[in-house]
């Protein structure tokens, strides 16, 4: 960073010198009434390193907004004090203020700048605390491993579960040690998982508590009783876990001292020594028995019970799963009958499904390992994994698979579409704006040398297929080229090579043998290399093509791009490399679009051809998000060589003006840098004659090709690909 460079020779500035410096950056917002004297005076009290740091950021911020820079200079010295001269922390504060400016405007940025004390408080808390975001994946995997329906983890101010998601606080910093904060997260997670797994939500709790004259008290008491039951179960099922979290259980353990509550604990203890399971039914019975006699307690870990929310979600899930299960059964029935062709008249029979639960341990022992058996026409069948998890989810909700579920869905019946059709990305823009179903990508701001968090809202959109004669026409037009391309590609296809003169191999190399026999008869040593061996060369390449679909490609360029793709697909299908084609365009960061033309594992079929034909010029060329998105996709693919090739016609740019020029180039460069770190090779094919000015900086000198004559593009693209991959 430049301030560090300045730093070595930076002397402490007095107020006047400081004001002079500030004036340079803040000129546009200063007037008669407002001078930089005040901020300068404050900043003059800091040491040279801090002063340099402050000035450096005043300069950067003033490039975004001069008023914000002024406010910053006024608040800087306070922030340094509040954050205990930790410049790293101060930088976090600045970045937060700038993000607030980016997202919500100057007013909110000022709020952050002027509240450095609040920031300091949460900052130091975060240092010892744990953020949910940091451990979300871990907790999700942990819960998934525990058992039952997989639950999502989200942040919320209230701790609860809706039977599909566990809601936890964003940050836990109540304990001085990081480990304890993490442990507390774990406690909350396991407790809420236990609500789902041990059947707290088996019945509609609203219906139950409404039978009492004080439903609020009844619900609270039931919550307490359930908490005791769940902790009791957790203690038995996960003894190691319980030992870890026992430090948080003081309040819980003190219940023993309370005579009334102790009877409940004794009840559970009794169940344990009898080795009996305790269920929600026990809690309901206890509720009836002790209603009005017990004072409710607020266990700190128990959160809230949202019976309404749960009920809504449960209803939807139950009906959805019933349909899906019956459809799965009809699929199973079809398959089984297909395998038994001799039973001709069987088609007219309704398949008779049956369902048995098989608990492998003693029924009353604490056990969560239930094995169910599904049988068709008296024969036990093993359903596929998805059906099994569906069954266990139904079991979790209802406790059994009811009779009516076991009727296979007939043909012509209502068929569910659970692909979340309301959330299809194509529909997003037809309604009010919302960010559901979109991907978010950070963007690199070279001025600040920081990422802007979740800056680009990216959607994958379909290219409407256009069924016309574009592909056959192109093939006809380039008949000779296609033929020679095929010949070239045929030659590099992963053929087997016969390696001669090997130490060992499949067969004897007669030439070598004759030679060495001759050698031997002359008294020389026998050569060891006497065998031939077949060596297979695996290409194992996954390549993604990213096609510029910006407005500037309209007309000729678009035509050439599409033709290139057709020829490329012809050549690649020859080669057997896996490839995908995506287009990109967009207007501003809020509307970044990736156009899907061909997925990696999709075959080159008529639909893909029609999509290539349907490629049209769209809006602007914001490149960073597209590269980040595709490199993310490529990262998940297993291949020896991964390649990302961009077809472009110019510099990155966007409607909002900011992306134009250096900012866009630097963001693209950064995204390519991230991509290369993932082990993906990047290459760019461009027709921009000025590409020499910026492409070497973005891609590296050897990683791009400039095609000056647009007519050459279709022929050259395949050719370049061939050279790149051999």
């Amino acid at each position: 960073m430049s301030y560090q460079k300045q730093n070595s020779s930076f002397k402490v500035l007095d107020a006047a010198q400081m004001e002079e410096q500030l004036d340079c950056f803040l000129d546009s917002v200063l007037s008669f009434r407002r001078s930089a004297a005040g901020p300068a005076k404050q900043m003059a009290t800091l040491n040279s390193k801090e002063q340099a740091f402050g000035l450096h950021w005043v300069e950067i911020i003033s490039a975004t907004n001069a008023e914000m820079a002024f406010q910053f200079s006024a608040c800087f010295s306070d922030a340094v004090l509040a954050l205990q001269h930790d410049l790293n922390a101060v930088e976090h504060w600045i970045v937060e203020a700038m993000s607030a400016f980016d997202e919500r405007g100057l007013q909110f940025a000022n709020k952050v700048l002027h509240n450095s004390n609040d920031f300091a408080e949460t900052y130091f808390k975060k240092q010892q605390g744990i953020l949910l975001d940091d451990i979300k994946n871990l907790l999700t995997a942990f819960v998934c491993g525990l058992n039952g329906r997989s639950l999502k983890i989200e942040s919320s101010d209230i701790i609860y579960t809706d039977t599909e998601t566990i809601y936890l606080p964003e940050l836990i910093a109540d304990f001085s040690r990081k480990e304890d904060n993490f442990l507390y997260y774990k406690l909350l997670t396991v407790y809420l998982w236990a609500q789902n797994w041990f059947g707290t939500w088996r019945y509609d709790l609203n219906d139950i508590v409404n039978e009492y004259d004080d439903p609020v008290y009844a619900l609270k008491l039931l919550h307490n009783l359930e908490s005791i039951r769940l902790i009791h179960n957790i203690q038995n099922e996960l003894p190691g876990f319980y030992r870890q979290v026992e430090v948080f259980m003081d309040e819980f353990n003190e219940l023993k001292l309370n005579k009334d509550w102790n009877t409940i604990l004794v009840f559970y203890k009794g169940k344990k020594s009898e080795q009996k399971k305790v269920t929600i039914a026990d809690s309901l019975r206890l509720l009836k028995q002790h209603y009005g006699q017990l004072n409710t307690i607020d266990f700190h870990f128990q959160g809230l019970l949202f019976a309404n929310k749960v009920q809504q979600i449960k209803q939807r899930r139950i009906s959805d799963e019933q349909t899906r299960f019956r459809e799965a059964l009809s699929r199973i029935a079809d398959e089984k009958r297909y395998l038994k062709p001799e039973a001709v008249d069987v088609e007219n029979l309704t398949p008779a499904f049956d369902f048995n639960v098989n608990e492998q341990f003693d029924k009353d022992e604490f056990s969560d390992n239930i094995v169910f058996e599904l049988s068709l026409d008296g024969q036990v069948i093993v359903p596929a994994e998805d059906v099994q998890s569906l069954m266990s989810s139904i079991m979790q909700d209802i406790g059994e698979i009811p009779e009516e579920y076991l009727v296979a869905a007939g043909s012509g019946q209502y068929s569910s579409d659970y692909s979340d059709k309301d959330k299809k990305t194509d529909n997003v823009w037809s309604g009010v704006y919302h960010e559901e179903g979109a991907f978010f990508y950070d963007e690199w701001d070279y001025v600040r040398q920081h990422y802007k968090k979740n800056w680009c809202v990216v959607r994958e959109v379909r290219v409407p297929p256009l069924y016309d004669d574009f592909v056959p026409q192109t093939l006809k037009q380039y008949y000779a080229v296609v033929k020679s391309l095929r010949r070239h590609f045929e030659a590099i296809k992963g053929e087997e090579k016969l390696l001669k003169r090997q130490i060992n191999g499949d067969d004897i190399d007669i030439d070598a043998l004759v030679e060495s026999y001759a050698d031997m008869s002359m008294g020389m040593e026998l050569n060891e290399r006497l065998f031939t061996r077949m060596q297979r060369e695996d290409r194992n390449i996954a390549v993604m093509f990213l096609v510029d679909m910006s407005g500037s490609t309209k007309g000729w360029i678009n035509q050439a791009e599409r033709e290139s793709l057709v020829l490329l697909c012809e050549s690649l299908s020859m080669l057997g490399d896996r490839y995908a084609i995506y287009g990109f365009s967009g207007t501003t960061r809020k509307r970044c679009e990736i156009y899907h033309i061909k997925h990696l594992d999709e075959a080159y079929n008529d639909k893909v051809k029609a999509r290539i034909s349907g490629i049209t010029a769209k809006d602007y060329t914001r490149m960073g998000f597209a590269i980040r998105h595709l490199s993310g996709l490529l990262e998940e693919v297993e291949a020896k060589t991964k390649l990302l090739i961009t077809l472009s016609d110019g510099k990155p740019e966007d409607y909002d003006g900011q992306y134009r020029g250096e900012y866009g180039i630097e963001d693209t460069r950064q995204s390519l840098f991230e991509t290369r770190q993932k082990g993906i090779h990047c290459y760019c094919i461009t027709i921009d004659k000025e590409a020499g000015d910026y492409l070497p900086h973005m891609y590296g000198a050897a990683n791009y090709a400039l095609i000056e004559d647009i007519k050459q593009l279709p022929v050259r693209v395949s050719d370049i690909y061939r050279k790149l991959t051999t």
Partner: protein
């Protein structure tokens, strides 16, 4: 030293002591029936669920030598059938393991057969149908298998990719036996006997295995196999702390992803 004299004879492949194996269903009976009718057998199932142990057990039961070939992607047809070698100016034919088994009436077990090259698997075709012959192209002879010979192979449908799938023409020659991790009670018993641990520990380990199997498809490619459980059990028996044993024998064997590793470690810590 002359490598050729080091050759191990099929007679050395007899299994003397009974390998411990718990039957899950009627697989022993089916295998015996297939063997008696000279049908080749295909064992399907995830890694570490007992396929190889089953083969050893069957070889012991049928009193036949067991010749195992671990297939890899450079395994060629001549690696199986045999090849000419040159020694002191002369070419000498050396039988491959498959030819050896055919001659000796042994059980030839091709482990993880999908790993082998596709052209390699084709050489077993004439052996795997009613002809029961092994053409030795380079020698110009056809080897007829005796009634004792049995061909068996295994593959794991779990990590199948398009590149590594059995051809229909290959798989349709075999009697297929499907293996999976044993049920809870049985797996517990296997641990108790194989690793000689107490029932309580076996139960917890099996529970832990099920937790990791829940994670299959959610970050893990495979859950803990019975073999890994045995490893963990042996470590614990040797005095290693159970959580540490699970971490080394199971978690680290399953994944390299740090997040998944800590999730699995948290799971094992919850149980012990």
């Amino acid at each position: 030293m002359d490598l050729l004299t080091q050759e191990i004879l099929p007679e050395d492949y007899f299994i003397v002591d009974e390998p411990y194996y718990e039957s899950v269903a009627d697989e022993i009976q089916i295998f015996e029936a297939a063997y008696n009718n000279q049908l080749p057998v295909l064992l399907k199932g995830p890694t570490g669920c007992g396929k190889t142990r089953f083969m050893e057990h069957m070889a012991w039961r049928l009193k036949r030598p067991l010749i195992t070939v671990s297939c890899h992607d450079d395994l060629t047809a001549s690696d199986l059938v045999g090849r000419y070698l040159i020694t002191s100016g002369e070419t000498v034919w050396v039988d491959g393991p498959l030819a050896k088994s055919v001659r000796a009436g042994a059980i030839c077990y091709l482990d993880e057969v999908v790993e082998a090259r596709k052209d390699t698997t084709v050489v077993i075709h004439p052996l795997a149908d009613d002809r029961r012959v092994l053409p030795m192209e380079k020698k110009g002879v056809v080897l007829q298998a005796t009634d004792n010979f049995c061909l068996a192979m295994s593959y794991n449908p779990g990590y199948q990719s398009i590149m590594k799938d059995l051809k229909q023409s290959t798989r349709q020659r075999f009697v297929a036996l499907e293996f999976d991790y044993p049920g809870i009670v049985l797996e517990q018993k296997i641990l108790e006997i194989e690793a000689e641990i107490n029932a309580e520990l076996a139960k917890t380990l099996v529970k832990f295995a099920h937790m990791t199997r829940n994670l299959k498809g959610n970050g893990l490619d495979e859950g803990a196999s019975t073999r890994l459980l045995v490893h963990a059990a042996l470590l614990i028996k040797a005095g290693v702390n159970p959580v540490a044993a699970c971490q080394s024998a199971i978690a680290q064997a399953l994944t390299d992803d740090p997040e998944m590793l800590s999730a699995i470690n948290e799971l094992s810590a919850s149980l012990f």
